[in-house]
Symmetry: C3
Subunit: 345 residues, 3 copies
Amino acid sequence: MPALGTLAAALGLELQGDPDCEIRALADLDSATTDDLSFVSEKKHLGKLSQTSAGAVILHPDWSDRWQGNALLSDVPYVSYARATVLFDNHPVPSGRVDSRAFVADDVKVGARVTVDPGACVEPGASLGDRVWIGAGAYIGHGAVIGSDTVIKPGAVICHAVIIGERCMIHSNATIGADGFGFAPGSDGWVKIEQLASVIIGDDVEVGANSAVDRGALQDTVVGDGAIIDNMVQIAHGASIGSRTAIAAQAGISGSTRVGARCFIAGQAGMAGHLTIADDVHIGGQGRVASSVTEPGHYSSGTPIQPLRAWLRSASRFTQLDQMARRIAELEKLAGLDSEEGDSA
Amino acid sequence: MPALGTLAAALGLELQGDPDCEIRALADLDSATTDDLSFVSEKKHLGKLSQTSAGAVILHPDWSDRWQGNALLSDVPYVSYARATVLFDNHPVPSGRVDSRAFVADDVKVGARVTVDPGACVEPGASLGDRVWIGAGAYIGHGAVIGSDTVIKPGAVICHAVIIGERCMIHSNATIGADGFGFAPGSDGWVKIEQLASVIIGDDVEVGANSAVDRGALQDTVVGDGAIIDNMVQIAHGASIGSRTAIAAQAGISGSTRVGARCFIAGQAGMAGHLTIADDVHIGGQGRVASSVTEPGHYSSGTPIQPLRAWLRSASRFTQLDQMARRIAELEKLAGLDSEEGDSA
Amino acid sequence: MPALGTLAAALGLELQGDPDCEIRALADLDSATTDDLSFVSEKKHLGKLSQTSAGAVILHPDWSDRWQGNALLSDVPYVSYARATVLFDNHPVPSGRVDSRAFVADDVKVGARVTVDPGACVEPGASLGDRVWIGAGAYIGHGAVIGSDTVIKPGAVICHAVIIGERCMIHSNATIGADGFGFAPGSDGWVKIEQLASVIIGDDVEVGANSAVDRGALQDTVVGDGAIIDNMVQIAHGASIGSRTAIAAQAGISGSTRVGARCFIAGQAGMAGHLTIADDVHIGGQGRVASSVTEPGHYSSGTPIQPLRAWLRSASRFTQLDQMARRIAELEKLAGLDSEEGDSA
């Protein structure tokens, strides 16, 4: 159990209160007990401070009058909370060695203190940077390059010639570098287009469980530095994802689409192929992005859930919308109003 | 080939007809032959009885005058059919032993008649209950607990400290306990929030192929007893799924959302984070759940498919809906009608 | 580096220009350099020919007056490009042998020049046709049949009794033959319906990474010859997919739905269960298919993204659509117009 003063020093934060207070764990305000460190990340949660039992709280200096207990003062409390999680991290640690039950080809370039766990397979020509960790049963294809300090979790598959940067984490059962979905319509059926390019993933990228980033046909698929990708995200061949862009679960980016930097793509959103999305674009959940987006900002699509019977009426009327608009225009004409149809054609 | 009388006894059902009739297999009414057992689960299918060649049929006693052949009478014919499938089950059976080509750490607690197949990896500190079956190439992380009679199918990944109850089935390539998607926006990019909590899965839970249930940051992600989860479902960190809730394929539940008991979430539905969904809520396919649902019932969203040209008109008009409503209000004012705009603002 | 004349011969195309021109690689028109072969697949791209540095171009004979350089003339330039990718293919090649670190049951039927890579597991009773390639860590269940020249990529799982045709490719972490999502509502919770049937996949089928094709309850799930399936596609139990149908990423086909031949199902589209979709139907991205489609053609659903505030207004009005339609009808009555409500009820 670290003392609060030790945590303050490790996080570089000013401490108010008792430096010897021992902290057992991190907890949110609602569930924290007297030996927990908690945090307030948004002003709207300040009201919870009067109820919490937390032994100490990370909060903004401007809010310190709202809390009489032990505090760590941070201009960015949520970031300080994130850094604190590292101090309490309970994930297993790598062994720093290649397990004898792993399958590593003779010519693989293995950096310092590399871990390869049982059942993992690393094919000829691959290269593993220093402190790389290849989890149990993971697969690293021929000639793939894994940058230093990158972790490939159990069951993840990295196909041939894929390049992954430093400090990345590829979660379990993700597939990086499978063939893009490319076929030409031949007279006897689909003719496969061999996907000759690869995938290049930058530094500090996280790819979630069961996600897929396909290799390109002629152009590499690219994920920029610091991008974060959630579970079951599909990134198709030749797409590029800008630096620090976040893509939530089950979203899909079609082939050759270029997503800018610092975008946020919410869950289950989908983008058609060959689009260009500007920097700093936010797409709402299930967003249907069928054309390029040139201006930063928040965009959304879809309709809200309604009780079933009400929805059936709305959905039925949706198919009559054009007729309804024409009827309004007709009424406007009769009433001597200028129809606004001109605007809306 | 069991005799019909044997099946009646095994299923605890009343038999009408020939107990010695030999049954080869189960089949639906349309394809059943004279040595098949079939079933009628809904009144609307009774008409098919006159056409079927089935050697015997499971049906409700109230419907027995509609069928002169061999019958097994059940108050719940569909449930009786389900129980009958167990009698005809043709899945491979476990060996009851730890294969020498599996990788099982020395300190793993291994129950009675546990099966661990080739290439599976069970990390230190894990615990496998009686009759647990770990499929080929599956992964059980450090300290994970797998309850008795649970089956982890080939290629599934159970991360460290995850707790899974009894009689569960986790299908192939599912990932339980990968890091939740938690990052704080630092000045130099995203700062990872270590996911310190875990996943707790109750008893009698099924998780489909290629699904993911992420571990929580500070609060465990919880799946209640008897919940059933289809393929490619995403359950994000800190979410909780109530008992006996069913979630169909490709649906997604965002972080910290609490889904009640006995809900039915249809395919590709999506829920935003931090919502509360009452018990007995049904969400239709592709439902867009952006706010909490407090009342049980059926909800839906979205629009129906239309031929492309008609849809283009509808979709275009959708973006003009507010303008259309205002134009109707203007006409109502001109006509001396009370505008209903007040209700709809 | 092959000479252009050699390529022309291999592709069966007429050459215009220098047969000795050496070709290093394939490239698109924008990025091609003087030792690259490029292609024009659509008339609308002919304008790029004046800018490209390509050493040679595949194009339609009708367009040859637009290009003075080296050319390969093809009536189907995109198909010829696809065939050319095979000539430049850089994928790893199979070893043609069963690795000693693979787990292959004694009674497995192994064809000529079969490759089984390290960590793969092939269960008893399975059959591998000639030149089959089972990637590292892949799983082939009891009695499964893999046709000649089929490739099962690393980490893919083929469950028991599944039948896969010839020349198929099943990408990494795909799951073929997991249990369909079948449960009956018992008084004490869900009662599992054992999925007794299997999956039958035809010849020349491709299944993308992290996709799932579930086994049927009583009827096999069927994927027809030449169908192509992208990543993270869900095909539920008892569904059938027609020959040469293409299904893009993250689309979902529910149980017992029958999709015709030569359909194109775009990304994230979803189909309810027990539907019949005609041949030659195209469903747009995120299409919501809740009823059968009897006529070939293009169909779409959903709404386009809008800037957030505009969308909030549209979405809110969507829930008032029925009321709006009734107000229009009322105005029409007042104005002495025949209401069109009759059509739209």
